[in-house]
């Protein structure tokens, strides 16, 4: 008898603990909401397609393909998330990535035409130049937005045209070949079947997440996004923070440009032109609040993987890219609507919720 009661008791305590754990995971505000939601969608999509077409979907080629395609989109989405975190947006991000890839390709192929050895020895400098291009492009965005005072959507709409225009002029609208072999070699290596690209993506995401949550500048960026006035009165220099956000966004764009080259040793002005809007979709699905203030890197990474899984799953069960577009649009809109409804509900309930949380914390 006693034993039974004990078991029952431990079961209830376990239940309570599990309950509070789940509640904690779900209830910790909007940002972790996005992470959990994307995790659920990712797992659900994975399970669904595994169930329907295990042979095609679980094929190592298919899985590694997901891991090879995701990184470039993921890094761009993380960059977009940073801009959206401050309540802005960066439409020029893909153009920056292309410009960086074109810089590397042109300089390297021209040097290699003269002296292959020298080009190989200077490859890191050349890649650095590509990153520098991204940095400068971000700097231009930052100046226009924080010092001239142009709205981010307009400033980056304009610079997108400019960067893209420069890329068209530079390449003459052609696709360039002859990116450094070192980069495409990286694309072929991996650790334990995990491609290098994916490892790089995870590493970059961790660094950005650490920057956002641990560094002073990262915290300031979050504060500025959630309440610019309060942030300003707390002694944060809004211009400087906004500026550095866009510089970082541009830098990440430069990194994405390098990832382009790792995956595919060609570059052109119009590569990934459909990425601009896709990247915004991913950032929002990952729990980024378009009005600024809330975002997590984990959410964006999961959203990237979820969408890629969905895309490859759709092709595994022989649905067209068009049907994938429908799914993408439907998911985006329904997630936004559900979010809004849950915010409304929370707002109505908010006094209760608050007192409950306070009680929990006191206990």
């Amino acid at each position: 008898m006693n034993e039974k009661r004990e078991i029952a008791q431990s079961a209830t305590t376990f239940n309570k603990q599990a309950d509070s754990l789940v509640r904690g995971l779900i209830g910790r505000g909007r940002s972790s909401h996005g992470t959990v939601r994307m995790f659920v969608i990712l797992l659900g999509a994975f399970a669904f397609f595994t169930f329907l077409e295990p042979e095609i979907f679980l094929n190592p080629v298919n899985l590694s393909n997901i891991m090879i395609v995701s990184p470039e989109i993921g890094v761009l989405s993380v960059a977009m998330m940073l801009a959206m975190l401050t309540g802005g947006i960066d439409l020029s991000i893909v153009a920056i990535a292309n410009l960086s890839a074109i810089t590397i390709t042109t300089i390297y192929s021209e040097m290699a035409a003269v002296d292959q050895e020298q080009a190989s020895s200077l490859v890191f400098v050349i890649i650095g130049l590509g990153l520098l291009v991204g940095l400068c492009a971000g700097l231009l965005n930052g100046v226009l937005i924080s010092y001239v005072g142009i709205a981010p959507i307009l400033a980056t709409l304009g610079t997108m045209q400019i960067f893209n225009g420069i890329a068209i002029v530079w390449t003459g609208g052609k696709t360039l070949y002859g990116a450094p072999e070192h980069l495409s070699m990286l694309g072929k290596v991996g650790i334990l079947n995990v491609p290098f690209l994916f490892l790089a993506f995870v590493l970059i995401s961790i660094v950005v997440a650490l920057f956002l949550n641990k560094s002073s500048l990262g915290r300031k960026t979050q504060l500025l996004g959630s309440n610019p006035v309060a942030a300003t009165y707390s002694g944060i220099n809004p211009r400087l923070v906004l500026m550095s956000t866009y510089v970082l966004t541009g830098f990440l764009g430069g990194i994405a440009g390098i990832l382009f080259l790792v995956r595919n040793p060609t570059s052109s002005a119009d590569y990934g032109s459909s990425y601009v809007l896709l990247v915004i979709v991913i950032a929002v699905l990952g729990g980024t609040n378009p009005n600024g203030g809330f975002a997590t890197v984990a959410g964006v990474v999961l959203a990237t993987l979820a969408l890629q899984t969905l895309a490859s799953g759709f092709s595994a069960i022989r649905l067209s890219a068009y049907e994938y577009a429908i799914a993408q649009g439907t998911i985006l809109i329904s997630v936004m609507i559900l979010d809004q409804l849950s915010i409304n509900r929370r707002r109505k309930k908010s006094p209760q919720v608050k007192s409950k949380r306070v009680m929990n914390e006191e206990a």
Binding site: L144, G158, Q161, N164, P238, Y322, E323, G329
Partner: protein, 353 residues
């Protein structure tokens, strides 16, 4: 400041226009002047007419985008709506071998456009969602439905009545050298639509409500404007205009391509913004938008005549956009009376110092 000086400034201010239309007109004339100077061939009736023909579709798109931007939103789904409406209409009519003429086709397409636009408006206004994100989603949705379920094949033979219209010119002037200048007939409906939208924005209660909501939707609501209803109609109207532009695009190009148009949304938005509309809502005019569209048309079609390689078009539009909105932003900053989102904190700092 002396009185006469004041008068000069007043006249200048009036010439400049509420949304810098005067400056835009100056830019357009300067552009035309420069290109004509560099290459006299440019300065001809045939260039004028072909520029106008090229501006028909972008102008009608821009009118829809203008209405949405004045209401404080942004729409990136209009190209998808245009392709959806025009292609679906043409496909069904071709399949049934019916040809109701340009007007009939336009009316059917407009119905499609209205429905899709209302869908945008409903989602945006009922759930108070960010317009950019919603229209991104519906863009993908509309285009996906079109290509997956309606058709993904290029139609090379739209209804014959459209072909007739495509060949009709309202004005043909044959020059001394035998080269003709042809003014396309569709310039007329485009012009009428522009006038109608301008009239609606300036003179009707609905138009004023759009400005009021764009200026401050909470204030508009308290003043008694039915915000949700107006918003739904704004997106419906934008959808209808997009559908008209879609039909005209099909007519002028004499083919219906379901992969067309989508992807060039940002160019139209750039033209509207260049035309003085504020992305924060509440400001913008049809005249400014028209000038913005024409400037971009001239750059895209005629910069090559001035010896500038076509590759520079995109960069040129971008620089023009940055300079245009940059000047607006700087002058707004000086006045510190226009509203803006990010620089709120910055402005507060400036007010303090």
């Amino acid at each position: 400041m002396t009185k006469s000086n004041d008068g000069v400034f007043m006249t200048l201010a009036r010439l400049r226009g509420q949304n810098n239309e005067g400056i835009l007109a100056l830019v357009l004339f300067a552009l035309i002047g420069t290109i004509s100077f560099l290459n006299p061939v440019f300065f001809s009736l045939s260039t004028l007419f072909s520029t106008m023909r090229g501006a028909i579709v972008p102008l009608i798109f821009a009118l829809g985008v203008l209405i949405v931007i004045i209401s404080g939103g942004i729409d990136v789904s209009f190209a998808a709506i245009a392709v959806f409406s025009a292609y679906t209409t043409v496909k069904f009519l071709n399949d049934g071998e019916i040809d109701p003429g340009l007007l009939g086709i336009t009316i059917i397409a407009v119905l499609f456009g209205l429905v899709l636009g209302f869908f945008n408006g409903l989602v945006i206004s009922l759930f108070k969602l960010p317009t950019l994100i919603v229209t991104l989603g519906t863009q993908s949705l509309f285009k996906g439905i079109l290509l997956a379920y309606i058709g993904s094949r290029y139609i090379a033979n739209p209804p014959l009545s459209l072909d007739e219209v495509a060949k009709t010119n309202v004005l043909t002037i044959i020059g001394d050298d035998g080269r003709g200048a042809y003014l396309h007939v569709l310039v007329i409906p485009a012009f009428i639509l522009a006038v109608l939208v301008a009239w609606m924005l300036k003179r009707t209660m609905f138009g004023r409500a759009i400005y009021a909501i764009g200026g401050d939707s909470e204030a508009a609501r308290r003043a008694g404007f039915p915000v949700i209803r107006v918003q739904i109609f704004v997106y419906g109207l934008a959808g209808a205009l997009a559908a008209i532009a879609g039909v005209m695009h099909v007519t002028l190009g004499r083919n219906a391509n379901p992969q067309d148009l989508v992807g060039n949304e940002l160019d139209v938005i750039a033209a509207v913004v260049l035309g003085g509309a504020s992305v924060f809502g509440g400001r913008g005019s049809v005249l400014g938008t028209t000038l913005g569209v024409l400037i971009i048309q001239v750059i895209n079609n005629s910069l090559i005549l001035a010896g500038v390689p076509t590759a520079w078009q995109r960069a040129a539009v971008g620089i023009l956009l940055i300079v245009g909105v940059g000047i607006q932003a700087l002058s707004a900053k000086r006045k510190t009376q226009t509203r803006s989102t990010t620089p709120i904190a910055i402005r507060m700092l400036e007010d303090k110092s």
